[in-house]
């Protein structure tokens, strides 16, 4: 594994076995402006919201036996993966997946009691707080070399 365990090394992208494919994606990510990165995060949160819609629709479909909710579930399945794919053009896949799964879990746990016979226990609420803390932390940590490029004349 090309372990890059030194935080903020000068050229983190130089360590990977870059194919043409990933070199292209890397340069796109490396040159991402704060604007572009901000938009990517919005799309990623949208993907999480679609994931919640998918989870609720699957719940409503009762094992894909109710046709209307099954159709809604398929639409949300396509939407969430599309939005995830758009966001991952800019955001690293490890961070993107965690945020996607995290927002989906928070939304499903928060809305479950609204739509279904679920309860939001104190334990669940505490875990939601842990997830949200991690999500905010990741948002703040996800600015690779941007301060450098921004301050460069």
């Amino acid at each position: 594994m090309p372990a890059n365990d030194h935080p903020d090394t000068a050229s983190p992208h130089a360590t990977g076995p870059a194919t043409t494919d990933s070199a292209e994606a890397d340069s796109a990510a490396a040159t991402a402006t704060p604007d572009r990165r901000g938009r990517a995060w919005l799309v990623l949160l949208l993907a999480g919201a679609f994931e919640v819609g998918y989870a609720l629709a699957v719940g409503g479909s009762e094992g894909f036996t109710v046709a209307s909710w099954s159709a809604v579930a398929v639409v949300f399945f396509l939407l969430t993966l599309f939005a995830l794919s758009v966001a991952l053009r800019t955001i690293d896949v490890g961070v993107g997946y965690a945020v996607w799964a995290g927002t989906g879990a928070v939304g499903a746990a928060a809305l479950g009691p609204v739509f279904f016979d679920e309860t939001l226990t104190l334990a669940k609420a505490c875990w939601l707080a842990v997830i949200i803390t991690g999500l905010v932390w990741l948002k703040l940590a996800d600015r690779p070399s941007e301060p450098d490029t921004a301050s460069r004349p």
């Binding site: 360590t15 890397d26 993966l81 599309f82 997946y97 879990a105 746990a109």
Partner: protein
Amino acid sequence: MHWLFLAVAVVFEVAVALSASRAQGFTRPGWTVATLLSGGIATYFLSLALLTFDVGVGYAVWTSAAGVGIVVLGSVLFGQSWNVRKLLGIAVVIVGVAGLQLSGAA
């Protein structure tokens, strides 16, 4: 057998994230098809595994294993950088998701 189903579900969940990343916003047809197929296969095998596993435990193992696999493979295959801050954030989110699913089961 249920551990095998869960392992297959993890492998394809990792494949979902990696191919979604390669699909570049669904502009590449091959990777787009790979994303959707992997998503379907992962969901199917997860549902098979959850017939035997406790739902909360099964989900918790599935999400955390996939999260770790995606960080490792994103680094190995795509050369994406990672540092202590990012890893810590990912770990907190994954632990939170796993804890949520386990507490839902309890």
